[in-house]
């Protein structure tokens, strides 16, 4: 039978312990309790149920004591004397001491937790430095935000281009109030001849601009007056390095620089500060745009709507309506050139660096260095984020597991008077401290190893000094705080809710099922990430290897192409002098080297052949080649013969490739008539005399284009085949011959295999960087597994001992200890396979010629992950399983 009076008496006893509750208060509250119980009983509850309910109300009212105190105090805001203050400074020292002691006691666990977090943060830091670097492009111009590049989309181009009609500049300058200033810019690559007393140089690039350019952009002048420097024709501005190159230490102002075979004198009117590395516009010399043509001057008429030439930069007034301006400009263009359906758009100056893929001519004004696309940056950021997440996961896992061993400490703290909040704060503080320590380690790691590595991989002048940018360090300290809080939150809340009497009695509290599930999920996420990364990286590596090994249809070794242009009448003599040396096996000339993406023009409307139906459209590449081209490059003939000096009619004849024959639909091409544009744009009709087997002239990303070859002697691109066993002699000979023909400049040449490799520079970069990330991520997850396993085995030390005493073998123990993990790892890998397949298929789809994504790639990488993970787990279990059971049983 339930005794209500007894229950109320007990409740009163517990209330008497509250210091501020006086006897009167208690009587008052007792009346309340009795009234309420009565009322509840009236509603059909039993005495017991009713009293329980009321009692609960009092349990919820945990501040009752403090409130009574405050109600009588003359300082209601003050904390009651028996309550611990929110923060006790003397305790902070104790917290730190305990934290340091825990770290020292569990060296390996702490090292794994903090180390993997540091590793992950280092990766994040590096990527952040890189991203900051990429986004810092062109932002040094003070008016960068209001400066735009005009892009022109024409129907015939099918994509936007940086080239604009000359007349647009004049129209924009006058008719549009929202345009503050405008300047054209024409870039000419290195290759022109410039001469100063005692110096002849071909390696200076030039930028020809309107006078407004210097006011729009922040390319400051060290010497000279920016207002007048470009005002007169035949003037030139030099960058500091160019000034040093041409005039040494002398003051260059007023000196004369001779351009193009000493025919044109240019007066130096100023010296520009060297162009910063983060500038997309790069040049050595700057000239007024009127001098653009130099020895072949071109008049740039103000009503020229069809000649597409200069890039156009505009600076807009603040708050200018960009879309309105774009459509006004498009309409203006359409009025003059109606058939093109032109669309004019404006591209932010600061978008040029990362968002120019697919824009015609975008590479021509840009620096010739590794260009990273926005997509690549996003990929790297994503991967860095994953790696960071894995570090955090390790931290959370180890921290929760470790906190289970601190129950005694928590029990003691609680008994002495710590509240839940105090313990939460202590654990969160510890976690944040660890994460800041990890950040410190990460900065050291990133500066010491990461940055040099990344610099080498990317070829960019990345510098940790970018960190001094006010943005990035607060970002990272913020991130460290957030990671510390997030990683510490679960353990902190979990640990602080231990009941003190239980916490004191047991050395550790068994993990709750929810905690175990969380931990398993986190481990699974880690393994999925690693497996996905590994399988994607494997596909990338295999594809790159495929590219390197694929038979491209021509010889890629022992060939070099001479890039120095020289008088084409001398080519025949040059070739025969080259061939005089035994180390030179062949030489051929053509309009350009065989390989190179985007260098070939495409024709279709002037093409005709015997049996062509009216509706067939075959766009074709074409090459101008001499008779030695096929032999030098090692191209194979599928039918017929190649051009020869013995057949004078070959001047009008054609050789096709197999793709051309196939898309033209010719069954027996040899001897058929073929008409196309030949040298100088003349339409020439002749015979098809041969068919070359297909070869990859461009990247493997594109399908092989149909091609025709036109016979021409003496074009300036010379390709030399040398004896691979005698490279030094061959090069010496080539340089000697070059000296004879072009005495004033050193011969420049490229090895074909190197040029081929450079086509895939970006892909290689991606693979290398992802491989580094992949390795780090695997390392982190293995470390995490190892750490977690060691904590779990420690908890089960006694169990292992008992099992051993009862006769279990090491293998049995290994088996039952790792069973859960093995299943988890296998499941995670199975989940990872489709993700990995999807991601790598998307990447590989860029290539028209690619490896097959066979099952074994994914099975293999999954197996690798399983192996590594089980090794990490097994290693730790093995140690526990082999321990002497006597000691295991004595443990605790």
């Amino acid at each position: 039978m339930y005794n209500l009076e007894h229950a109320i008496e007990e409740w009163k006893n517990s209330m008497r312990k509250k210091r501020a509750v006086q006897d009167g208060d208690l009587a008052d509250l007792e009346a309340y309790v009795r009234d309420k119980v009565e009322a509840l009983a009236g509603r059909g509850l039993s005495d017991e149920e009713a009293f329980r309910k009321v009692e609960e109300e009092f349990l919820r009212a945990e501040h009752l004591d403090g409130d009574y105190h405050k109600a009588r105090s003359s300082h209601p805001g003050k904390r009651p004397p028996w309550q611990a203050p929110r923060l006790m400074p003397p305790l902070v020292w104790n917290y730190m001491k305990i934290a340091a002691r825990k770290i020292r006691r569990q060296k390996s666990h702490s090292a794994i937790a903090i180390g993997s977090l540091a590793l992950a943060m280092a990766v994040g830091l590096l990527i952040l430095v890189w991203v900051h670097y990429e986004f810092s492009y062109d932002r040094f111009h003070r008016s960068a935000s209001s400066t735009y590049r005009v892009l022109c989309y024409l129907k015939s181009w099918k994509r936007p281009a940086i080239f604009t009609p000359n007349a647009l500049f004049f129209a924009v300058k006058e008719g549009f109030p929202e345009v503050r200033s405008a300047s054209r810019a024409i870039y000419a690559q290195a290759g022109r001849r410039f001469e100063s007393p005692g110096v002849i140089d071909y390696k200076s690039s030039t930028l020809s601009v309107d006078p407004a350019f210097l006011a729009m952009f922040d390319f400051p002048l060290v010497k000279g007056d920016p207002l007048t420097a470009l005002a007169n024709p035949k003037s030139v501005l030099l960058t500091e390095s160019a000034a040093k190159k041409f005039f040494g230490a002398d003051d260059p102002i007023g000196k004369i620089l001779l351009a193009e075979d000493a025919k044109i004198p240019l007066a130096v009117r100023g010296v520009l500060k060297d162009i910063p590395e983060t500038s997309n516009i790069d040049f050595d010399l700057m000239m007024p745009i009127s001098d653009y043509g130099l020895s072949a001057p071109r008049i740039m008429k103000s009503d020229e709507w069809t000649a597409m030439n200069p890039a156009l930069f505009v600076q807009l007034a603040p708050k200018a309506n960009i879309t309105a301006l774009e459509s006004k400009l498009s309409r203006l263009f359409d009025e003059h050139v109606p058939q093109e359906e032109a669309r004019i758009s404006l591209q932010r100056l600061t978008d040029i660096h990362l968002r120019s893929i697919g824009i015609l001519g975008s590479s021509y004004l840009a620096r010739p260095r590794t260009r990273v696309s926005f997509g690549q940056i996003r990929l790297f950021l994503l991967v860095a984020l994953i790696v960071l997440l894995m570090g955090v996961v390790n931290y959370v896992n180890l921290a929760t597991a470790r906190s289970l061993k601190r129950t005694r400490e928590i029990g003691v703290r609680k008994v002495i008077g710590a509240r839940k909040g105090d313990i939460t704060r202590q654990f969160l503080g510890e976690s944040v401290l660890c994460s800041i320590a990890a950040l410190g380690a990460a900065i050291v790691l990133a500066a010491g190893f990461g940055l040099p590595l990344l610099r080498r991989l990317s070829g960019l002048a990345l510098d940790l000094r970018l960190l001094s940018l006010p943005g990035i360090l607060p970002e990272f300290i913020g991130l460290a705080l957030v990671i510390g809080l997030v990683a510490g939150l679960y353990p902190a809340l979990f640990v602080s809710s231990f009941a003190p009497q239980k916490a004191l009695k047991e050395t550790f509290v068994a993990a709750r099922p929810s905690l175990i599930r969380l931990r398993q999920a986190l481990v699974a996420v880690q393994i999925i990430c690693s497996a996905v990364l590994i399988s994607v990286i494997t596909v990338l590596v295999l594809q790159i290897r495929y590219i390197d090994r694929k038979d491209l249809g021509f010889k890629r070794d022992s060939l070099l192409t001479i890039t120095t242009p020289f008088d084409k009448n001398l080519i025949a003599a040059f070739k025969s002098e080259l061939l005089a040396h035994p180390s030179i096996r062949g030489a051929a000339s053509g309009f350009q080297p065989l390989i190179g993406a985007g260098g070939h023009n495409i024709q279709d409307k002037d093409l005709w052949w015997e049996g062509k139906s009216a509706e067939t459209v075959v766009p074709m590449d074409f090459h101008f080649v001499d008779e030695d081209y096929q032999r030098t490059y090692g191209l194979e003939l599928a039918a017929g013969r190649f051009f020869s000096k013995d057949f004078p009619a070959d001047k009008n004849n054609y050789v096709l490739n197999e793709s051309a024959v196939k898309s033209m639909g010719l069954a027996d091409p040899i001897g058929k008539r073929f008409r196309a544009r030949g040298l100088g744009g003349k339409i020439v009709e002749g015979q098809i005399i041969g068919v070359l087997k297909d070869f990859h002239a461009g990247t493997l990303k594109a399908r092989i284009m149909p091609m025709y070859f036109v016979y021409t002697e003496g074009f300036m691109g010379v390709t030399v085949q040398f004896d691979p066993k005698n490279v030094a002699a061959a090069i010496a000979h080539i340089e000697a011959v070059g000296k004879k023909f072009v005495p004033e400049r050193p011969l420049e040449y490229e090895f074909l295999d190197e040029s081929l490799r450079s086509i895939y520079r970006n892909e290689r970069l991606t693979v290398r960087i992802l491989s580094v990330f992949g390795a780090v991520s695997i390392l982190i997850s293995c470390l995490g597994l190892f750490g977690l396993m060691s904590l779990l085995t420690e908890q089960r030390t006694k169990e292992i001992g008992v099992r051993k005493v009862l006769g279990a073998s090491v293998a049995r123990i290994m088996g039952f200890m790792s069973a859960d993990f093995a299943a988890l790892i296998a499941l995670a890998v199975i989940l990872a396979v489709p993700i990995g397949y999807f991601l790598s298929a998307r990447w590989a789809d860029d290539f028209a010629y690619r490896i097959r994504l066979s099952w074994w790639i994914f099975a293999g990488s999954g197996f690798l992950v399983i192996l590594l993970a089980l090794a990490a787990v097994g290693l730790r279990i093995l140690k526990a399983a082999r321990a002497n059971p006597v000691e295991s049983l004595r443990y605790e």
Partner: protein
């Protein structure tokens, strides 16, 4: 149900004062009254009202005396003081002002 705790806390004092203006009363009854009148819209964390009554007594807004009820239960009855009455008037004006202001703003924005 009003679950805005700061709002309920702010309304507690005027409500208690207003209920006590009708006459002497004890804690449990006050709680019941508020619950009844508000149609269970307002529900206090009940034991917490007692220290609050104590505070009001310290501040001199109410006084209390012990009474033995018919069922032999000892109860503390609270009664409004002059100061409490003045305080209630002050509170009333404040709330009316806030109410009027609120209404005007709402109507203007309509």
């Amino acid at each position: 149900m009003i679950s805005n705790r700061p709002l309920i806390a702010a309304a507690t004092k005027p409500l208690v004062l207003a209920i006590l203006r009708r006459g002497e009363n004890y804690g449990y009854q006050i709680i019941q009254k508020v619950r009844e009148i508000s149609g269970e819209e307002i529900s206090w964390s009940e034991p917490m009202l007692y220290p609050f009554l104590q505070r009001m007594e310290t501040d001199g807004l109410i006084t209390s005396r012990w009474k033995i009820a018919d069922n032999k239960r000892l109860r503390r009855y609270y009664r409004l003081t002059e100061l409490g009455l003045a305080e209630l008037e002050k509170e009333r004006l404040h709330w009316l002002k806030v109410h009027a202001l609120f209404r005007t703003v709402l109507e203007e924005s309509r």
